[in-house]
Amino acid sequence: MGSPKAYADPAGSSADESGQYAVTPPRLIRQVELEYPPEALDSQLHGDVSVVVKVDIHGRVERAQFEEGDPVFEQAALDAASRLVFEPAYLAGEAVSVNTRVFFHFAPPVHFEDSPGMEIIVHTELPEQSDTRARTTLDAEDLERSASDNLAETVTQVAGVRLAGGSTDAGKPIIRGHQERRLLVLNDGIRHESQKWGPDHAPEIDPFSAGSISVIRGAAGTRYGTDAIGGVILVEPPPLRMTPGYGGRILTSFSSNGLEPYTAFRVDTGSENGFSTRVEGNLAVGASKSAPDYVLGNTSSRTWNMGGVIAQEMGSGRVTASWHHYQFEAGIFYGVTSPSPDEFLAQLERERPVGADLWEVSYDIDRPYQSVTHDVGLVRGEWGGDWGSFEVVYAFQINLREEFERVRDNITGSQFDFTLRTHSLDSFYQHPTIAIDLGDLEGGVGFQISFQENVYRGLSLIPSYRGLSGGLFAYERLVLERIDVELGARLDGLSRTAFLQENDYEAHVRRGVLDEKTCDSLEYSYRCPSDYTAGSVSLGTLVHVVPEHWDIKLDLSTAARFPDVDELYIIGHAPSLPVYSNGYPDLGVETVWNGSVTSGLRSQNIEAEVSAYAQVIDDYIYFAPELTQDGQPKVEVTIRGSYPGWGFKPIDARFFGMDGSLSLGLDSPVGLRAIGGLVRAEERDSGEHLIGTPGDYLILSFVGRAPDVGPFHEIEADLSIELVAEQTRVDPDLDFAAPPPGYSLLGASINTVIGRRRPVRLGIDAHNILNTSYRDYSSLLRYYADQPGRDIQVRAGMDF
């Protein structure tokens, strides 16, 4: 790569990072060779030039106008600019013609004779490229291909992200070995608040409401707040329509395993006076899924979502208000009972669950089941000008969760009932770019305040609580020609008061873990306050080794997590597992020190990213068997039997690993895609591997693209194989059961578009084609039954 490089930078392309602009900017897809003007050779001049181009709805440059720079480069820049090809700008799903500013940097060739024509290198500021951490964005096309999947299933398209399956048709994401407690989900910029502590409590977010979903792997606490230890999932809505008229999208699919129809729609309107609206919704009704050899009884589910948005342009800004309702009802697999330890071990030996012969594919939802709603309403104001930009958002979330156990007929209603209400106020000011001697300085300062109440009604499990939290953060980014350096700092605090029922309070005091002096007695409960504070810092570096083609990112970050209320105070038999759980009220703040190196390679036919990371976590809260004072396993005697006692305890841990992706032949008739990852998680003192760390995996896809056939175009087929290794490192004695063997699954898909004026996107996806029986180490189901077998999904979607 000895030849000098020049690059262009379509202005405004960083706009899509926050999703707050109406138009998705055009994205450069074809590079052209840039001629260094011979007349400038003598002077060996370097030069920055900006050109304004008008990109039409087909992505071609309709007009190019020289704006700024040394006139010696004018003609060469205009020639290059007029040959650029973009993916057009989109407004509410429709291609629109826009003006875009393109920057060129001219550098003289070292050996001009050797390289008469230079490759132009384009620097498009996609969020994943400007982030100093490993970051991947799933766009509308990726999201459509996972139609009817839940959020966790959707994000497994990203390297390093695995699915923690549950005993219902729901799942939780795992990023770099960390589950939901240690992940932060931001939905439209708002911290998603839910009962995320339960093994069967999936994030209540509808992926269809997203225009894009970005996954940041690794600690990102400074920018996004507490809990961002394993990573952050950013769910961004598609841009609103800001021009008069209407548009929208419909999507429908049917999945064979679970006989699940799914349908979704979105309608956007815009008007002359800057008023926009959106109405969207979807519905999925699934019957029980089937493993290869039996039906997974009572895994039926019903999901529906509805949302609306209104927005009004106001001067140099906009005010948006929205409300989204999420509703999920799902049976809990009949096979997951609350067995005694002996019975649990004995049923693991069985080839099929004891009730398997009775189970039928049915849309009925029987006890046990869960019923969950999540509502989020927000009002956002955002303004911009030469003074910078300012955003303020108030949001209200209410998450209702009811769990219905198998009970005698005289009992109606739920047995566990949680109501979580959260009010939050987020604000962020970004100063205008400041040109200093070294380069450009970008940055801003922001705060978050949130008030939360969780009311729990039910048997001993967790206490109700009330909490007030706040965070203050600032970051600055120095942008040099080839290097960006970002520094961030943040301070967080939480003041939480838990209200323990008398029995639970007394049990904790009796166990000797709760100091009576820390709690006051109220009429019906004991009030136990706890306060936490944490600071975090980050230093990120992004080196454009070869601008737009090859970059290296180095990130050093810290992040913190305050203990969840269940880790402090849970008491009782854990549903689904043969243990009795005990909280530990003295737990402190979990702190992670994270370092990562990520390298990305992009050219016309190759995209690759590999990231290596190491994390040291102090006071990592770990759920493990409790021992008595003389070192024997603790046994808790209940009327349902005797269970081993498990508790939350702080340990010092380390996590390290690698993940990455590779795409070859992006536009060729044949291509290859690969994603994979591995994680190691250990207790630092003993070197013992931590339970629950996913096995190593690799997914390989062979892609074939066919020429247009009649009305069919963009024909693409792929065949993929998912290879998952056995988790051989964990000590089986510390887990409830030995890890299942590794497995490989075959999948295939065909996607095409029919018609051109009103194109309809069609797809068929087949998962687990060979109907392989397997169990997945990360799934709760592995203790009770095989994972679902073959599933074939057909799908059709169109924009209007």
Binding site: E343, G355, E360, F396, R406, L459, Y524, S525, Y580, G641
Partner: protein
């Protein structure tokens, strides 16, 4: 903005106004969050020869917090007893008798007697047994329930008696409680039958 603040604060009140985060009297609230709590098992033995004398043994965790008080069962050798089992919820005041609900749903319930001291349908033959067990009752399908039983003391000695109340509600509309459940437990343990334990308590039993 003047208009927004009153609206926002009213909304805030509506959204948080009905909060009962500080707890209510959970033992006495009856609004839809009922629980199937059993805190106490009572086994009543009365001699078939002389039913005026009855013996009562209790396994009780009245606070439902894992600190049970358990009676040791002591029986006379060579006596046939009628044995009645009762289940109570002592979190309620007065204590609630759960036994009639189990009898009402007998098709979904069965009580099993196992342990080192027992010989009966749920254990198979047992050389160490000091008592034998037999069911005296049956549900509408003719399957044993185990609320009424016969226990005969066989020989002097001691061991464990484990009483298990298994709740076996229908799955996919089919009965889970089937004929031969006790024999299946004898052959393959509780993992060989469907349903889940509502109660599994262990008594020590001595025949003198």
């Amino acid at each position: 903005m003047k208009r927004i603040f009153p609206i926002a604060s009213t909304l805030l009140l509506i959204m948080t106004g009905c909060s009962d985060v500080e707890g209510d009297d959970h033992d006495h609230d009856h609004h839809d969050h009922e629980h199937e709590v059993i805190t106490t098992v009572v086994i009543n033995f009365s001699s078939q020869g002389d039913d005026s004398e009855s013996l009562e043994f209790v396994w009780a965790d009245p606070e439902n917090d894992g600190s049970p008080v358990v009676d040791d069962i002591v029986l006379e050798d060579g006596v046939a007893y009628d044995v009645y089992v009762e289940f109570m919820n002592e979190l309620e005041d007065p204590a609630e008798d759960i036994t009639p609900e189990i009898a009402d749903e007998a098709e979904e319930h069965q009580i099993f007697f196992t342990g080192s001291a027992v010989e009966g349908p749920a254990t198979g033959s047992n050389e160490d047994a000091v008592v034998s067990h037999a069911y005296l009752d049956a549900d509408a399908e003719g399957l044993p329930i185990g609320l009424e039983n016969e226990i005969v003391s066989l020989t002097a000695g001691s061991g464990e008696l484990i009483l298990t109340l298994r709740h076996m509600p229908e799955e996919s509309g089919s009965p889970v409680k089937v004929e031969g459940a006790a024999e299946d437990v004898a052959d393959g343990g509780f993992s060989a039958i469907g349903g889940a334990n509502d109660v599994s308590v262990t008594f020590s039993i001595t025949v003198e």
